[in-house]
């Protein structure tokens, strides 16, 4: 079974009296341990898709299955998930990495990484252990008690990645993760994401930069709220070749 299945997804916003059709019958299937980039010009529905996948928002119409769980369904028999249920899914299944890092400014790196575990209701001791080991994993073992403003951009994004990883999510959802970083740091972060993928994580990368998107094995291109192109990258083709052999 696919990890993620989007079937004929529509999302319509109302801004004042104007209806904006952000997603218009989008279909996509993503398997476990895939590394997918989502591309597209602005207004193509990237952000909306990202919000839907990340369970920050629910589609207006369509079926969305995530890790065997029905997040949204056209079937009127199935009840709609409420705010709290969605929060629980985000907590358990999704690891967010944002362009602007979105760390709590007054909390230490350690506390930032601890947050998803707090909301998962994990005990203090287990939380500390996990947050510690995850920060060590992203190479910030010596920066645990620093606050975000005491860290460089790259370090901040690594804290954010540690936070995304800490609760063992089904998907890591990275929205322009290098958008606020210089090219050298960007490269570092991308190497890091590549490593996470090799370690077995499923990664969805939203970006508008081609060289970043090329890190993935597959690129889904959006246009007008629909998938306009879905293709393997060089890396993806190579990987498949190796697997086929």
């Amino acid at each position: 079974m696919a990890l993620l299945e989007l079937n004929n997804i529509y999302k319509t916003y109302k801004i004042g009296t104007v209806e904006v059709h952000a997603l218009q019958g989008l279909n996509a299937v993503i398997e476990k341990n895939e590394y997918v980039s989502i591309m597209g010009p602005s207004g193509s529905g990237k952000s909306t898709l990202m919000n839907v996948i990340g369970c920050l928002d629910t589609p207006t119409e369509g079926n969305y299955l995530l890790d065997g769980l029905t997040v949204h369904s056209n079937d009127p028999e199935k009840e709609k998930l409420d705010d709290n249920k969605l929060a629980e899914i985000r907590n358990q299944k999704i690891g967010f990495v944002f362009q602007t890092f979105n760390l709590l400014p007054r909390a230490t790196a350690l506390h930032n990484v601890e947050l998803p575990l707090i909301y998962a209701g994990i005990s203090k001791k287990a939380r500390m252990e996990k947050a510690h080991s995850t920060l060590i994993k992203v190479g910030l073992g010596d920066r645990m008690h620093h606050k975000p403003n005491e860290l460089s951009g790259g370090q901040r994004q690594r804290v954010a990645i540690a936070r995304a990883l800490v609760n063992n999510p089904s998907i890591i959802l990275a929205d322009e993760p290098t958008g606020n970083l210089d090219s050298k740091t960007s490269a570092e972060i991308m190497v890091f994401l590549d490593k996470l993928h090799s370690a077995g994580n499923t990664i969805i990368l939203v970006t508008h930069e081609h060289n970043i998107a090329e890190h993935a094995h597959r690129i889904i291109t959006l246009l007008d709220g629909k998938v306009s192109k879905d293709s393997k990258t060089e890396k993806g083709s190579r990987k498949q070749m190796i697997e086929n052999n």
Binding site: I118, G121, K124
Partner: protein, 405 residues
Amino acid sequence: MGQLWESFIIAFKDVFANKTRSFLTMLGIIIGILSVSLMGTAISGINDTFENSMDMIGNDVLHLQKYPWFMKGGDWWDFRNRPEMKVEYVDKILQRSKNISFATPEMQNMRNVKYGDNSIQGVFIDAANWQLQHVNSLKFEDGRFFTKSEDRNASRVVVIGYGIKDNLFPNQNPIGEDIKIRGMKYKVIGVLKEQGKFLGLFSFDNMVIIPLKSAYSIFGRRRRMSITLKVREGVDIKTAKDEVTMIMRSLRGLKPSEKNNFEINQQEAFREQFSAIKMGISGAGFGITALALLVGGIGIMNIMFVSVKERTKEIGIRKALGAKQNVILFQFLSEAVIIAVIGGVIGLIITTSLVGLLNKFFVASLSIKLVIISLSVSIITGVLSGIVPARKAAKLDPIDAIRYE
């Protein structure tokens, strides 16, 4: 549960991260709690002291006098023309009454009292018979009351109040010493237990008691006298009052058509006056408290709205990471309650230091009950003023919130 605790900790840190702001927000609550606890302490202090004083007057004691304690209308001249009380009435009432167990005439006057070089100006001298100790249920720190024979023989013996002992005999046992009242030597035979103050009124602490017969040479015979009667145990005070009224009317030879030309006063008269004072104080206290808490509560609500607005992005991040609505709600509600409770505690601390000041006028102390009431009021104020902003925070849309700059 763990999550709520974490929310509480976060809220606690946030309160202290904005110390000045939190403190300013607390001011209304501080004043409100200060007012409620101070008024409560004052009222209970006044009440206790009043009850104490009432015990001194005795709730089973009737005061047979020329004038009423509190004149409600009536012509003062009518009262003034009434005949004076006489010592003879005492024995006659005791003979005829079934409901009176003890009775004493009382004469009071202010005189200077001296011991060696120490002297006190204007001490209340209470001259009575040996039954006064039973009428007023006197309790002794040391020594005894004068006996029937000392009374009959007009012995120069004196029982002194605790305050008198403190002033005249600071480091000395007064029993057996002679004090001088208007140049007359009196031997101290007893010291009364401390009775406490009620704005200096009705306390035996600053009185001395001497046998009535020995007082004539100091006061003269024509002093105004009253008669104090102890109602027999188990007898309804009203029954006793009616009986004494009948006895007095017959002693004075009043016709049925004539009005009483004497007054039987009792504690009740004080109670009526006192409850009016008490109502006044509690009314004012309640008003100030309610107003201060309302203003304080609005202050907290206002600052909580600011806090939610300021931390919109933080709320968005927390929700994205899986914080449920009730967790966010609890975090902001805790913040409001923490501000209110710290304000309440500060108010109580100030009250504690002011209670010392109250004690200059009467015995008062902050009771546990008042502390609990004050803290409960703080918590309720915090919840009421925090709930709307906290709900607003909990209901924020994570997408909008996380993008808020």
